[in-house]
């Protein structure tokens, strides 16, 4: 088996790794996301010392995923300073001389769950991460949703808890789903980070209900076979039974759910590695010209030097 490269490019940190799958994941290294030039140079240095046959990149967004677009592989309209319209895939492919596959961070994590994790037995599912923000990736019939750009499920509009006047923390929408239920929202509401709130704190039933309101909308729209949840906030495992009960209650019998909801709303089974493992899967598929899971750009922009 060849060695593949993985980059999980987040808004605050970048994780690089090499390997070929969950049983062969090596040299996982994280560093802060600074400017595009500095950050990409550091990634190039990492892979210069660890040659790979192809590279997969799961990136924070919004990103351009259209293989026909001149800005394929770029971060586009992000408010993150310096990253607006930054080319990510291009400089990496040019410097390393290998094929580069590029996806959203959440579709990349979803691919890892589909290939090796909690969704390996199904083809239509949602991967949701609840942490610094809320992000969702989705597979329909074995392929990630792109559409016009790509989903941005974290910003769903949901009903408010009656009488609750917490304004929410989303700079765009205030009290959208992410504005009410991300890690920073929990900290803003309760004055302490999520991990410092005891498991029996009143924060958790409210958090479960708020998450369930968004899940109901995702279920009604995508009819998933399963929902896989990860991210820092979901390490509060007491949330899972609460979320399942609230989701069932809110749907009120309108949509038939599996008898055992513990198999329907599940935690990630890849621990913290879904991002880099998905990027390795992207790289493998790219080299194989195999579009099972993720479309391969028709004319890769980034094979220069190879």
């Amino acid at each position: 088996m060849q060695t593949f490269g993985a980059i999980e490019a987040g808004g605050t940190k970048v994780v690089c790794a090499v390997g070929s799958g969950p049983d062969d994941l090596r040299d996982v290294e994280a560093f802060p996301t600074t400017t595009p030039a500095e950050t990409l140079a550091r990634a190039v240095d990492y892979f210069a010392e660890r040659p790979v046959a192809a590279l997969g990149v799961g990136s924070f967004g919004p990103v351009d995923l259209d293989p026909q677009s001149p800005t394929w592989g770029h971060v586009t309209s992000t408010p993150k300073p310096g990253w607006r319209n930054a080319d990510v895939a291009g400089p990496l492919g040019d410097a390393l001389g290998v094929p580069v596959a590029f996806e959203t961070d959440v579709n990349t994590a979803a691919l890892a769950e589909h290939r090796w994790g909690a969704a390996c037995d199904i083809d239509s599912f949602i991967y949701l991460t609840v942490g610094t923000g809320i992000g969702g990736g989705a597979f329909v019939d074995g392929r990630p949703i792109h559409g016009r750009t790509h989903p941005e499920m974290g910003h769903l509009l949901i009903p408010r808890e009656p009488g609750d006047d917490f304004p929410g923390v989303c700079p765009y929408h205030g009290d959208c789903w992410e504005g009410l239920a991300s890690g920073p929202a929990i900290e803003a509401r309760w004055g302490r980070p999520a991990q410092d709130l005891p498991p029996d704190h009143e924060a958790w039933p409210l958090q479960a209900r708020t998450l369930a309101r968004g899940l109901v909308n995702l279920i009604l729209t995508l009819s998933p076979q399963r929902i896989v949840m990860g991210g820092g906030v979901m390490k509060q495992t007491q949330l899972f039974p609460l979320i399942r009960a609230e989701t069932e209650g809110l749907l009120a019998g309108y949509v038939p759910l599996p008898a055992d909801l513990a198999t329907f709303i599940v935690p990630t089974s890849l621990d913290g590695n879904a991002g880099v493992l998905g990027a390795i899967a992207l790289a493998r598929d790219q080299l194989a010209g195999d579009s099972a899971g993720v479309p391969v750009p028709a004319s890769p922009v980034t094979s220069g030097g190879g």
Copy 2:
């Protein structure tokens, strides 16, 4: 070109037709939906006089779309009296001796828009009908979403207008999207049916905002290239510019939209015929064994007698 049969099976009426496409649609006949036995017998009588090569059925739901399921082609958990677990496709195929294709009513209408209508140039879009209820079908990369069962977009949970205490009319959820914005919701709120309210009535800005809240959630989840809207309420064409403006406002620049929203949120271009035309497209694809658009059951349950 062969002649194909179409059934648009709604909760209040059934429409039958024969033909091969928009330029060849004949003998459109509607009759009330009564009991399954009586209703299906009437449809069989209609097609006994008008032989077809294959039949397409777009049905109200929930329905079983799984070709591997013993209850494929059935209406399942509907509250409609007499129709719970009613076999629709089976009796039609048995009596007529032709292949039967079966889909949700809204995915069927979406197929017509994709083949011949307002979505004929794109592969990822949403078809939404706003009338007696709200229903949505969606195509991703040229194929309809099924997932575990099928989408039920009408029942999205959305934020309430501040201070509004209208309880909504959905028997399951009260003030879900359909409960707030369907035709019956408009009539319950304003005391008159939608078509009796003047175009400058205060109902319409509220209606547009309520519809836009759901559209925002669909856009964030599916990233469609276009949204096609039909149904009785959408005959109030003054709604379209209001809906476009509200949708853009609610998204607040987070998701890039096309510069010309008049090409993004559009009316159906098939007038009232999307349902039967989609059923004809289903029948054509079924006979051709062509799954472009809609999966063909691996082992049709309903070829008896053919």
